[in-house]
């Protein structure tokens, strides 16, 4: 145990460099997948058949392809099509796209969980579709969607390690490189695991806090 602590002091600075990139890729992926997911969910419930169909097909196709392959595609195939991205940019774009179907389904299930009577009441006082969504449906849907949204965020954090496969020197890649040069597998991978866990805890806490602060008085 003493040995572990001594070694940790040695290896942590290197691993923390990887933490920075993991956080960067994860946050970028959150923002992009959340925005894309919202757009897809709105298209799906818009009542406009063509938009709804596009959203449905996008979700099926992207969800059916491993995030790893999506990353490879963006990093290795897009340059052939004339779009060269840095490894970090490709990782953010790839994770954002790969996670957008899950986000879309989280938001859609939240929206569809709200009783039809709510939109009917809103329509009956003369609201248009946009205002019904903004003032009546979304404030209620967000409470339904938060718990699954929180789980998806934690999943995305962990899957950000896929970025290591396209040369992003994130926490998992730093750990692997360090381990293969020092052979201190136990210490290093334990540290890597603990660091991922440490990053997921604030996410979980933030989500719990949001859920609590949005809870209605009963």
């Amino acid at each position: 145990m003493l040995n572990f602590i001594e070694q940790s002091e040695l290896y942590l600075p290197v691993l923390l460099q990887g933490v920075y990139l993991t956080v960067l890729v994860t946050l970028g992926g959150f923002v992009l997948s959340t925005v894309l997911g919202l757009v897809l969910a709105f298209m799906r419930v818009s009542g406009i058949r063509s938009l709804s169909a596009i959203s449905r097909v996008f979700v099926i196709v992207v969800r059916g392809i491993p995030a790893l392959v999506t990353l490879f595609y963006i990093y290795f195939v897009f340059p052939d099509l004339g779009l060269s991205l840095s490894a970090v940019q490709a990782a953010i774009l790839g994770l954002g796209i790969a996670y957008s179907p899950y986000m879309a389904e989280v938001f859609r299930s939240g929206i569809e969980a709200i009783d039809r009577g709510q939109s009917e009441a809103a329509l009956s006082i003369g609201m248009g579709w946009g205002m019904v969504m903004r003032r009546v449906i979304l404030p209620q849907a967000i409470k339904v969607a938060l718990p699954p949204y929180g789980s998806t965020m934690v999943m995305l954090l962990k899957d950000s390690s896929l970025a290591s496969t396209i040369t992003v020197a994130d926490l998992s890649l730093q750990g692997k490189l360090l381990a293969s040069s020092t052979f201190e597998n136990t210490t290093i991978f334990t540290l890597v695991a603990l660091l991922y866990l440490a990053m997921s805890l604030p996410l979980t806490a933030f989500n719990g806090w949001l859920e609590k602060s949005l809870r209605q008085p009963r």
Binding site: D115, G117, E120, S124, G126, G128, R135, Q216, P217, R218
Partner: protein, 245 residues
């Protein structure tokens, strides 16, 4: 003066016709009650008037304007003039009673906030809920929720209010307080179209009663005639079953 007119209205779900060639009208200040067995199409007909349902044939006019769900601005205009009270209240659970009433005036009609809130307070006082303005719907009884819903409908300063079985979801002891508010509205000359199973209310308050069965309008007349001396055997049968002898 005719406020709402229905001529030869037809509606079907696929091959199943739920409204068959219904024609009637509602004059300003009139209280019209729609009665009939469940599945007779009375709620559906009511929901066609503010375009919550579409209809396939005939014409519904409000103030001379055709009710058409595809005419987005037109239908929104009609809905701001014809309010609705629902069976299950449909209050916005994330807003207080006061915010529920002020929502339409502020966000749909663009009324100045302070003015709308002041007016909404008065409306809640009028339905006997002056002390509940800051309560959320979940903290209110069914009867109180429905009275907030009536205040919300009144907040739009409507020309008419549609009531879709407003007391059917209430515990029996709470029905009276809602009917009381509706009675006072009728006394003040509000135009009302009420789908109801409350025959006492229909008899005492309605100017006219319509009996619908299987989507067909079978009776249309003053309550004394429709409820006391119905002509159609189906109406006689219906009333015999629901009225205590």
């Amino acid at each position: 003066m005719t406020l709402i007119s229905l001529s030869n209205v037809r509606k079907s779900y696929g091959p199943h016709e739920v409204i068959r060639d219904v024609s009637t009208s509602v004059a300003k200040g009139e209280v019209l009650c729609l009665i009939g067995p469940s599945g007779s199409g009375k709620s559906t007909l009511l929901r066609c008037i503010n375009g919550l349902e579409d209809y396939q044939g005939g014409e519904i006019l409000v103030h001379g304007a055709r009710v058409d769900r595809n005419d987005r601005n037109g239908i929104r205009g009609i809905r701001t003039r014809v309010s609705m009270v629902f069976q299950r209240f449909n209050l916005f659970p994330h807003r207080t009673a006061l915010e529920n009433v002020a929502e339409g005036p502020i966000y749909v009609k663009g009324e100045p906030r302070a003015e709308a809130l002041e007016r909404s307070r008065d409306l809640l006082a009028r339905v006997g809920l002056a002390d509940k303005i800051d309560a959320h719907p979940a903290q209110l009884s069914g009867g109180q929720q429905q009275r907030v819903a009536i205040a919300r409908a009144l907040g739009m300063k409507p020309d008419a209010i549609l009531f879709d079985e407003p007391t059917s979801a209430l515990d029996p002891e709470l029905v009276g307080e809602v009917l009381g508010v509706m009675r006072s509205l009728a006394d003040e000359g509000m135009t009302m179209v009420v789908v109801t199973h409350e025959m006492g209310f229909a008899r005492d308050v309605a100017d006219r009663v319509i009996f619908l069965d299987g989507g067909v309008l079978l009776e249309d007349g003053p309550p004394q005639e429709v409820l006391v001396r119905p002509q159609n055997p189906r109406t006689q049968d219906f009333l015999r079953r629901i009225l205590p002898s």
